[in-house]
């Protein structure tokens, strides 16, 4: 058996530059700029070259890409779907914890 591979947490403390985010999600910088403009993710830092994204943002960008590819939704539609999906997930977690 090989040594265990350490998993990286994609949480609020993980940080990615624009280039790292694009590589991990296989998207262009232009798409990320549009996603930011749509308010789906909010980078830290003002200049684009200093943008830092959290692990949560990375997960969201991946989701946008899947929703676009698989449903053909535009960014506004993806944004709405992600908001609703995250609400459902919060409710499901709360329900699971109290069941």
């Amino acid at each position: 058996m090989t040594d265990p591979i350490s998993a990286l947490l994609l949480d609020e403390t993980a940080e990615f530059s624009l280039a790292e985010l694009c590589a991990a999600c296989r998207v262009s910088e232009d798409l990320v700029v549009e996603i930011v403009a749509e308010g789906i993710v909010e980078p830290m830092g003002r200049e684009r070259m200093h943008w830092r994204f959290t692990g949560v943002a990375l997960t969201r960008v991946q989701r946008v890409v899947r929703l676009q590819q698989d449903f053909g939704v535009n960014l506004a539609g993806a944004a709405l779907a992600i908001d609703l999906l995250e609400q459902i997930e919060r409710l499901r977690r709360a329900q699971r914890s109290f069941d």
Binding site: L10, D11, R66, S97
Partner: protein, 313 residues
């Protein structure tokens, strides 16, 4: 050239729930509907991922007029029936496939050709893989390791998909929360033509705990206490994820009073808290002496807990 082995026939029309003469529009509509139903981001159906792939594969064939015509030419068979492509089977290598995993049936028919045109000069990063892993609350607190079976699909020099199963050991650090995404770089599908491997993304699910409820990094524990512990404000032992601690109850505490043990929840920056909800448990009156004691309390500690209700008309 191709090694032809028997595979299970797939009825793509049944998978999509459309008639064999369905129009391109009908097929697209059926796909969109099924994709919404089984999309892993949207669906909570148990086998959503597998169904989504199946639907995607069916759509990949039926949306493409050439592939659809070739598939139709095979005639109608029963789903699951043993199938070998006809000896004269030749599918003109057309477009590129965009998914990492296909059924053996698809592979036999379209697999080797899907990337055929590019073969050796084609180099690209492997597909990302996704999955879920369930851990206990204690494991989330301390961190844990999991052994996972990974279905890997290598693309050989002929452009064919070669599935293998590999075991990997994954270390999950302390402080994950329910629904946490974790990333394992280069542990996804192998690269194509010498390209780098894709990443593996896992969603961590916390299993329900016998005592604790969990919300983000905060944990809540219902703590049974006796009336005298609550009334007199005694010190009681309370379990926490990091071990037992002594907690002094405020004098005169009632049921549902919440006490906060700061930083005793799941680790993080900042760490979560443990909330302790007091639940006063009354001792049963088992003997005449017990009853006498309760009667003595009734006369000595006169109290009407329903006063507020009675004061309201």
């Amino acid at each position: 050239m191709c090694n032809i082995s028997a595979v299970e026939y797939k009825d793509y029309y049944t998978v999509m729930g459309v008639a064999r003469d369905a129009s391109a529009d009908e097929i697209k509509r059926a796909y969109r509907k099924l994709a919404r139903k089984f999309h892993p981001d949207v669906s909570k159906e148990k086998d959503a991922e597998a169904r989504f792939k199946e639907v995607g594969e069916a759509y990949e064939v039926l949306r493409d007029p050439e592939k659809r015509a070739a598939y139709d030419a095979l005639g109608t068979r029963k789903a699951g029936e043993e199938f070998r492509p006809p000896p004269d089977w030749q599918f003109d290598r057309g477009g590129d496939t965009d998914s990492g995993l296909h059924s053996d049936f698809f592979e036999q028919l379209f697999g080797g050709m899907a990337r055929g045109g590019r073969r050796t000069e084609f180099r690209s990063r492997g597909f990302d893989a996704a999955g879920q892993v369930e851990i206990t609350l204690e494991e989330a607190f301390r961190g844990t390791e999991r052994r996972l079976s990974m279905q890997r699909v290598a693309i050989d020099e002929r452009g064919r998909e070669q599935p293998t199963t590999q075991q990997i050991n994954v270390r999950i650090p302390a402080g994950v929360v329910d629904g946490q995404q974790i990333r394992l770089p280069a542990q996804g599908q192998p690269g194509i033509g010498g390209g780098p491997a894709g990443d593996l993304f896992l969603e961590v699910r916390l299993l329900k705990h016998r005592w604790y409820r969990v919300e983000g990094r905060d944990v809540t524990l219902d703590l049974p206490v006796t009336p005298w512990e609550a009334a007199l404000g005694e010190t009681v032992r309370v379990p926490t994820l990091g071990g037992r601690v002594d907690l002094k109850l405020p004098k005169g505490s009632q049921t549902d009073r919440q006490l906060r043990l700061r930083g005793r929840g799941l680790p993080g920056n900042p760490p979560g808290d443990q909330l302790v909800v007091l639940k006063i448990v009354t001792p049963p009156a088992r003997s005449a002496a017990d009853e006498a004691l309760y009667k003595e309390m009734a006369s000595a500690l006169s109290m009407n807990p329903r006063q507020a209700m009675e004061d309201t008309p």
